[in-house]
């Protein structure tokens, strides 16, 4: 992190805006150096600055899970994370899951199981499911329900979301999934 400038004087010059900070992030495998004000959330950085609009802004208060991304492989709410706090981290968004045209098993499972209607919560649901599988704590469908509870679906596609996560977990345990 480096302070790039002293910011611009505001009004009569009685105070100045804090400096923008230069941070490094690896986003979906690509190294980025970004200058960002300290109050910019990771979510706003992704959507407004980097055109990665797959990650959705639902409630912007950590209650709906639509903004879920993986930071160093761990699922978090990007709306409650300041970008500057994650200097040096590796960020994976919904755009970074597939290899070219080949979907990750959990993405294919959402299609196979019809696990969405409007689709707005889906990127967050899928990133959350990737995090859930990496955590390895869900053993039963009740556990999946509990551990997906940070992702709200207003269309109510929950039964199919649980089915999709079960399908991907099964493929994973059978070793069919490479990732």
């Amino acid at each position: 992190m480096h302070e790039k400038s002293n910011g611009e004087a505001v009004g009569n010059g009685a105070y100045s805006l804090p400096a923008k900070l230069s941070i490094n992030l690896k986003i979906n495998g690509a190294d980025k150096q970004i200058e960002v004000a300290p109050w910019v959330t990771l979510l706003d950085l992704l959507r407004e600055r980097l055109d990665l609009t797959g990650t959705k802004k639902g409630c912007d208060h950590g209650q709906c899970g639509a903004c879920t991304v993986l930071v160093d492989g761990v699922r978090v709410n990007s709306c409650l994370t300041l970008a500057v706090m994650k200097d040096g981290a590796e960020i994976t968004t919904i755009e970074g899951l597939a290899s070219g045209d080949e979907l990750q098993p959990i993405q294919q499972a959402f299609i196979d199981c019809d696990a969405f209607q409007c689709g707005y919560c889906t990127p967050g649901q899928i990133c959350s499911a990737v995090g859930l599988m990496a955590e390895g704590k869900a053993k039963t469908s009740d556990d999946i329900r509990e551990l997906m509870s940070g992702n709200i679906c207003r269309c109510g596609a929950y039964p199919n979301i649980v089915a999709a996560v079960e399908q991907a977990m099964q493929q994973r345990s059978e070793g069919g999934a490479a990732r």
């Binding site: 109050w39 950590g62 709410n77 706090m85 995090g131 859930l132 940070g150």
Partner: protein, 343 residues
């Protein structure tokens, strides 16, 4: 969100000097509550001191035969830590009963202790609130107060502390280690959170120059007989209306020592030490459980929309005690389930 400047603390001493230099500065760790409060304009720090890179992220043995939980370990790391699961399952279950997996991956142990109430009037800057703006009045006392406190309220504030983790820490009699300008201090968990009194704007006895560095768990973990029962409007991802943390030390059917802490009912984790002692040396029977429940709730005072918590709370105490004795339903899963059995 208002503009603010940002600094990264390089060590604990630097964090203390940064926070002491500016009384409108705040520490940021997980950010799950603070950033939300900043978006709502409830918190308006001039400067954020990012403590995430400080070496306070270990869980290790302490000198008392217990565990020391680093202030910067996340709630998820703590709940799923093998030694915490084995020796302090009450703490694991309480943590996993709170928030969502994403939030638990971000929120830290120190931050959990310092989170603010979720009273809707505290969050709504268009309404009076003595906690947010001292002297403006309390909108909850005669307002919609279904989630509010029934113990230890004052004429200035009836907010509740929202934590699940802290209810277990109260029952476990944890110790909070802090560092300030004058050096290191320890604060008994019982003395950490305050009642609202005349200063509801002050939640804890942590001083402005102090940083939480770790939380010590004493050796006694009540792994054999414990329960965390959380009653809420949905079965997951909701704050408690009433929660009960129970730890029992037992000899056959008789109780040697009982610990009981309640959440969702007061401005701090609520314990009634006199009432708890009623169980010591007693047999684990429903009648004895009802006696202690009556004793705890004799001080309760309901408001227009939350008087239901008194009867609900008594039944929750009895059921949690029974679960701690039986240790059956509790052991099925570490994730909290509210069974369909009537309370």
């Amino acid at each position: 969100m208002n503009n603010f400047s940002y600094a990264r603390a390089t060590d604990v001493a630097n964090a203390v000097s940064e926070i002491s230099a500016d009384n409108a500065a705040k520490f940021i760790a997980g950010g799950t509550n603070l950033i939300d409060l900043m978006k709502e304009n409830v918190a308006r720090p001039s400067r954020l001191v990012d403590i995430n890179r400080l070496p306070l992220n270990k869980i290790e043995e302490n000198d008392e035969g217990g565990l020391r939980l680093g202030a910067l370990c996340t709630n998820a790391e703590t709940a799923y830590h093998a030694e915490v699961e084995k020796r302090y399952p009450l703490l694991s279950k309480a943590i996993l009963a709170g928030a969502s997996p994403q939030l638990r991956n971000m929120a830290t142990n120190g931050g959990n202790l310092l989170q603010r109430t979720r009273c809707y009037y505290f969050y709504d800057v268009a309404t009076p609130c003595n906690k947010r703006e001292p002297g403006t009045g309390c909108s909850a006392i005669e307002g919609f107060n279904r989630m509010h406190a029934i113990f230890g309220t004052s004429e200035h504030c009836i907010a509740v502390h929202p934590s699940d983790m802290c209810i277990a820490l109260a029952a476990l009699e944890a110790i909070v280690n802090v560092t300030g300008e004058t050096g290191e201090q320890t604060i008994d968990f019982e003395d950490f959170h305050r009642l609202p009194g005349n200063t509801p704007n002050i939640d804890t006895n942590l001083h402005g120059d102090e940083i939480i560095t770790s939380i010590d768990l004493p050796a006694k973990g009540f792994a054999q007989n414990h329960a965390y029962l959380k009653l809420r409007d949905r079965t997951s991802y909701a704050f408690a209306l009433v929660s009960v943390a129970v730890g029992l030390e037992m000899d056959g059917d008789s109780i040697i020592e009982a610990r009981l802490a309640l959440g969702g009912v007061a401005h701090r984790p609520w314990r009634n030490l006199e009432a708890e002692k009623l169980l010591n040396g007693k047999t684990a029977t429903k009648e004895n459980f009802q006696t202690v429940a009556e004793a705890i709730f004799k001080d309760a005072k309901g408001f227009e929309h939350n008087s239901f918590k008194i009867e609900l709370g008594k039944r929750a105490v009895v059921r949690a005690l029974r679960q701690a004795v039986e240790m059956k339903r509790n052991n099925d899963s570490q994730f909290h389930r509210t069974s369909t059995e009537p309370v």
